[in-house]
Structures are given as C-alpha cells and as structure tokens.
C-alpha cells in the first residue's frame, strides 16, 4: 500500500467546537499517557476527593492510577484497554479515551481512535537519541519508537481530524530546548513522509503539569497555547460533503395504526450516512433495486424534519417495498454496487489474516460474507515502504482484495467514512478481526 492517504474531500471550516470533543491519548508504553490524563483531570478539577484519595500510595499521588481501572492493569502497571474519562472546562466538554501503548493491545487503541475527533500522540523525549542526530548522519526520524509511528499512522489512516504531538518528559532533560527542536524536526519529517497533517507539536511535562492545562512561560522556546487550550479550539469531525444520499436501514418499525388501516405503514430507521433526506426525494433500494419516493421523514425523536448526514432518521416511503434491516436506501443512479473491493485493513486478531479465508463483513447494518481474494502488501511501520506478504499478523496494516458474496455500495474511506468503512468478523470465534478502509478502485494493483 502507499502509506500516504489521499487528502479527504472535507475542510475544517465546518467542524464546530460547540459539542464535546472526543480525543484519545496514544503513543508508546510509559510515554506518560495515563499521567497526562490524570493531570488534565486534576488540573480541570474533575477528579473528586475520594477518587484522588484512591490513588495515594505512600503519600505520593500516582496520577496513572486514575485511569487504570482493571486490577490486571494496576498489578502490571500498564494500560490494557481504553478507559473513557469525562471532563469539562468553562469553554468545552471533553471525552477522553486513554489508549494502551503496548503493541499487543493495538486493537483497543484502534477502538478508541475510531470514535475520536483528535489524537494526542505522546512522545517520551527521554527515550529518543535526539542528541546523536548529526553525529553519524542518521536522521532522528529512525529513532521514533515503533508505537509512536504505528499509532500516528493508525490515527491518520482512520482519518482522525486533528493529530497533535505532545513531547513529554522534557523537564527531565538538561538541554530541553535543543531536544524539543530536534524531536519536532523528526516528528515533522515522519509526518511528511507518511502524509500526516500535524495540528500542533506541544512540549509538556505531564508529571509537573507544564503546558498541560496552563502555559509554562519561557520554556524550550515554545510560545504557543497549552495542550488544553489547543484542545478547546479543535473542531469535531466534519461530515463528509459532496456525497449523494445513502442510508443504511437499521430497524424496520411495523406501524399498524389501529382502526381503519388494513395495512400497516412501515418506518425505516437508521442514521443518514451521507447527504440528506426530505419528503419528495426519490430513493433506490439496495439490493432489490426498486425505487420509491420519500413520503415522510422523522427525526430521531419522531419529529418531522429534514435530516442530514450523521443524524438518525425514520423514513416512510410512498408505497410498500421489500426493505429489510441491512438494506440501503440510496440516491438513484448515484452508486455502483460492487462485488470486489480493495481495502486497507488494520488487522486486530491474534489469528492472522490469510488469503482464501472467508469472514463476515459488516457495512452499515449489512452482513455479507467476504473472501480474502489476495493480500496485496503489508506496510513496514518503520520505513513506510510496502512489502510483500502472505498473511497479516496481529497489529499489522496492509492492503487486501476482498470478494463479496453480495454487492455493496462503497466509496473510498477518504471520501466517506460511513460508506468506506467495514469490519471483518471471524466466522468461527465471532471476534472482531479487522478495521477495513475501502481504497479507490484506481488503487487496485
């Protein structure tokens, strides 16, 4: 695959900051993610007295214990699964997903990132050989930890709108200004090579609270906002624009209104994937290919309303058609359903993906069988080069060709999150095995 993802057809201007920002903290093990969140919670006065008392150990407060909620995590001192925490400032509400750093738990990081508007990638300055940069001509980008690269790539791959690097533990370095400068250069070089747009690079000390909630003046030559100030102004994920109407049917409500109706009206509920829906609009049903006119549209609370992408709607058609859960209502002539897709997959299962195997694929609410026709390649996390592969092991990223048992209307993920994303489920274990991101047909090798 090419590690560079096409720039999505959206702009930041439509993202608003009026609603809660969902962001994750990610990065390598021990880079200070849980401590950072603890710091944000404490400094925004979200942590209550009893919770703070619960993380005192021998007089010291261990902020990481605020989010490591499982006993296995506290035993081992690591984060296994995402912890969701909630806090607000005077300006905004936040939902944080604290993602695990271990490669073994990448599936949980991907879970967190799939719902995030922003990703804060922690970088531990003390772990990087930044001082050696110019000595032997090696570029520091090679020194970024594999999980820093993997998490950044995954956040980018899943189209997280804003990616922020927080360079942590700079308080423990003598020449912190030089370290910050060199690490910033390395991060920018990596981001450029991978096609990642960086929203900001912020020097912080999660332990001491420098540049986390409040600015730490005159430090490492950085004069920008604190991390929290930055997050307060980041947009939530903008809806994909210029995509025709598409609507996956989630639930069919059979409505037989007493008295005189001999045949009950049916309401098709779901969330508008793209475009909008209003009465009078023509729609085609996938897979039956029949068409009808929209008679009535209800909002999620059953009010009559025009409903736009990202919101739930109930749709009543002008005449009865064969429509079931899993079907799609589509703008007529706008989509060409396909039986084969090329897609980038983030493989999450311990059992590797192998060519020839059949999985369940879920798009919208539609389950179809999908056979791995072939594995195109796997991306090398370090070099960003694609390399040949016969299987995809847990936590690897690669391109595959999937043959579908039934046609699906898809768009490249870069163009539409809703129409370009699927999950694969193991038919035997029922485990969720992969995140699937549809690539443009032109990318077919």
């Amino acid at each position: 695959m090419s590690a560079t993802i096409a720039t999505p057809a959206t702009s930041d201007v439509h993202g608003d900051t009026g609603t809660a920002l969902r962001f994750i903290t990610c990065g390598s093990v021990d880079d200070g993610k849980s401590t950072l969140i603890g710091r944000l919670l404490v400094d925004s006065k979200t942590v209550l007295q009893d919770q703070l008392a619960g993380v005192q150990r021998g007089g010291e407060t261990d902020l990481a214990l605020l989010t490591d909620g499982l006993s296995a995590e506290r035993e081992q001192g690591i984060t296994i699964d995402v912890a969701y925490r909630y806090f607000s400032t005077a300006k905004r509400k936040f939902i944080i997903g604290d993602a695990p750093g271990h490669e073994q738990y990448t599936r949980n990081m991907v879970t967190a990132v799939s719902a995030a508007d922003a990703a804060v990638v922690l970088v531990d300055a003390t772990k990087l050989a930044w001082a050696a940069e110019v000595e032997d001509g090696t570029v520091v980008k090679r020194e970024l930890l594999p999980q820093t690269r993997r998490h950044t790539l995954l956040a980018h791959l899943l189209r997280v709108q804003s990616i922020v690097f927080a360079v942590n533990k700079l308080d423990a370095i003598d020449d912190a200004a030089l370290a910050f400068e060199r690490i910033s250069t390395a991060l920018n070089a990596f981001a450029e090579a991978a096609g990642v747009k960086v929203a900001a690079i912020v020097p912080i000390s999660a332990l001491k609270g420098w540049n986390v909630a409040t600015r730490h003046a005159d430090w490492v030559g950085y004069e920008g906002p604190s991390l929290l100030e930055l997050l307060e102004d980041l947009p939530v994920t903008a809806q994909d624009e210029a995509v025709p109407f598409a609507f996956p049917v989630q639930w069919v409500e059979k409505f037989s209104a007493s008295a005189d109706t001999s045949q009950g009206r049916r309401v098709f509920w779901g969330r508008v994937a793209s475009g909008h829906v209003e009465p009078g609009q023509r729609v085609t049903v996938l897979p039956s290919n029949q068409t009808a006119t929209v008679a009535q549209v209800l909002s999620h609370t059953r009010q009559p309303k025009t409903v736009h992408a990202g919101h739930s709607a109930g749709i009543v058609l002008d005449h009865e058609l064969d429509v079931s859960r899993g079907d799609w209502l589509l703008a007529p002539e706008a989509f060409e359903p396909v039986r084969e897709i090329t897609a980038t997959v983030a493989w999450l299962d311990d059992e590797p993906l192998v060519a020839g195997r059949v999985y369940w694929a879920l798009q919208g609410h539609r389950w179809v069988k999908a056979k791995v026709a072939r594995i195109v390649d796997r991306v090398n996390i370090t070099t960003l080069e694609s390399e040949p592969a016969t299987q995809l092991e847990a936590n690897s990223i690669g391109d595959v060709v999937l043959a579908l048992q039934q046609p699906l209307a898809v768009l490249p993920f870069a163009q539409s999150r809703a129409l370009g994303s699927l999950v694969l489920v193991d038919t035997a274990s029922h485990r969720t095995s992969a995140a699937v991101l549809v690539q443009p047909p032109a990318a077919k090798a």
Partner: protein, 317 residues
C-alpha cells in the same frame, strides 16, 4: 397516505428551558436512541434492566422517544433484592404501567429458596448476589441482550467497558479480552448461550443525567429530592436507619435533610445531605460537589479497589 397514520407516528414536540445549551444533550440522546434501536433490531430476545433509579428512568425516557408510548419492543426486567426503598418500587411499577411496558421481576429471595444464593450470614448485603438471580433470569427467558443504565463516569471498571459488551456462556465479562468496537459498526454475533450487555448511556455523566432530567421533566422517585430522614454517621457516610439497617451501639440517630444520589439495595445505599427540591437544584449541587457519586453513597464499592470489576466479572450489571 392516511393522514391519521401520519399524525400517529409523531411524538408531541418537547419544550426545553430557554437558557440551556441543548447541543450536547441532544447528541447524547441521539446516540442513546441509536443504540436502543440497534438492540431492537439485532437481537431476538432483548430486555431492558429497569430498577426505578434515575439512570434507568432516563434510559426509559429515551426509549419512549425512540419507540413511542406502548411501543417499546422489549420487556423491562428488575432484579429485586427484597431490600428496596418502597418509593422506588412504587414508582417503577407506575412508570412501567404508564408506558404500557411488560415488567418482569425476579427476586433474590427466590434464588435463596432454591438454594442458588447462600448468604454468609443473615445480615449480609444481597447486592452482589443479584448477579446469580440475574443470570437465572437470563437462562429462564433466554435473553440475548440486556440493556443497562451503567455509565462510564461512575466507576473505573465501568470506564473500560464497551457499549456492546460480550458475555460468555457463564455470563462472565472478560475485561482483558474485549472485542474491538469500531465506529458504530457493532459486532453483535453470538454463540448459543452467550449474551450481550448493552450500555446506551455509557457516555453520559452524572451532570448530563440531571440536566436531561430537568430539561425533559423526567419524573423520579421522591427520595431523589430533599426529605427528612433518620440517619447515623458511619465511616464518613450517612447511613439511613431502617429495619434492615438499624443503628449500631454507640451511634446516634439524627434527622437530617437528605437526598439520594444513587438508589440501590437499602443495605448498601446512603443519602447525602441536601436541600435540593428539584432537578435544577440538583444540577447546581452536582456542579459544585467534590465527592463522586458512588464514593458518597455506596458502601459496596468501598470494600476494595476492584470490587466493581470483580462483581462485573461475575455477571453483575
């Protein structure tokens, strides 16, 4: 189409207090309703756990908006410890009737009679034993999905849980091995005997719940608001004095103005001092509290750091 049918599809419009910014609550409500409909569609025998407590009443308000009165497509299930506040069970029954919903009650006492629940001593709290009765009810009705009103901000083991949370054939949660949950593509596939716990208000905070109760005029059992009650002080908590929880030697019974922040089994739930007479007052109090909801009120969570996780693994809500 038939004009009368059209009107019947609609819910009467809601009016909200003028000063509230509604964007956040609308988003939470919409997410919750999306999940409630997903359960209706994806499972064969779902049920909604309904205790009469504020979180399950908020859940039920969302269900009412999603489906309409008399049209909630799953029964309500309550696991009764036999140690309930009468105001809560009365309100529970009233609400179920108003909504035209089927209410199934299964009691810990019946499990004790069957011998599946054994108390270590007669005074032991029945709270944790609800798991046994719950799993028995799941087996009896072959439920494949149970909707619960747990929130991630309540407790740190809950902060880790998926919205669609898989349970094995023993009803056990495997916190170290949860299925990935990507976007809103929920993997609801099950093997026979397994089930899901589904948490549609995972992302609501205590404040969100109270603001929603205020905005939507959600009715609550009276003990959520200020009332005079006999209590004793014990380990920093106000313990209500009841037949089941008599004062211990040396404790002084006092009458205080209190309200409950959370309501559960009488033997584990404590009120807080408060004069809040309505949801708006509670919102203001919630904005200024410095002790968490469960920390202030739950004796069962204070026994060890992992008490909630342990109970959840055993099949608790």
């Amino acid at each position: 189409m038939n004009a009368r049918t059209e009107a019947d599809l609609l819910q009467p419009p809601m009016h909200s207090p003028a000063n509230l910014s509604n964007t956040h609550l609308d988003a939470l409500e919409e997410e919750t309703i999306f999940i409630l409909r997903e359960v209706a569609a994806a499972f064969e025998r779902p049920t909604l756990l309904f205790s009469g407590g504020k979180d399950s009443l908020v859940l039920l308000k969302c269900a009412e908006k999603a489906f309409g009165v008399g049209r909630i497509p799953y029964p309500l299930l309550m696991i009764d410890t036999g140690h309930n506040f009468p105001e809560v069970t009365a309100y529970r029954d009233q609400r179920a009737q108003e909504l035209g919903a089927e209410l199934i009650v299964r009691s810990v006492e019946d499990s004790m009679k069957r011998g599946t629940v054994r108390l270590a001593h007669p005074g032991e709290s029945r709270n944790a034993h609800q798991s046994v009765t719950l799993l028995e009810a799941i087996e009896e009705f072959r439920f494949d999905a149970l909707i619960g009103g747990a929130r991630r901000d309540e407790e740190k083991a809950r902060a880790k849980e998926r919205i669609f949370s898989h349970r094995d054939s023993f009803g056990q949660w495997q916190p170290k091995d949860q299925r990935p949950e990507l976007w809103t593509l929920f993997n609801t596939r099950l093997a026979p005997g397994e089930h899901f716990r589904v948490f549609p208000i995972s992302n609501w905070t205590e404040l969100d719940v109270w603001q929603y109760i205020e905005r939507e005029n959600v009715g609550l059992p009276s003990i959520y608001y200020t009332h005079k009650r006999e209590v004793v002080e014990r380990r920093g908590l106000l313990v209500p004095v009841t037949e089941l929880t008599p004062p211990r030697d040396g404790e002084t019974v006092q009458v205080r103005d209190v309200r409950f922040r959370t309501v559960g089994d009488i033997t584990t739930t404590c009120p807080v001092e408060s004069l809040a007479a309505g949801a708006g007052d509670v919102v203001l109090e919630t904005l200024s509290v410095d002790v968490s909801e469960r920390g202030a009120t739950r004796m069962d969570d204070m026994t060890s750091e992992a008490s909630m996780e342990k109970r959840k693994k055993d099949g608790y809500f």
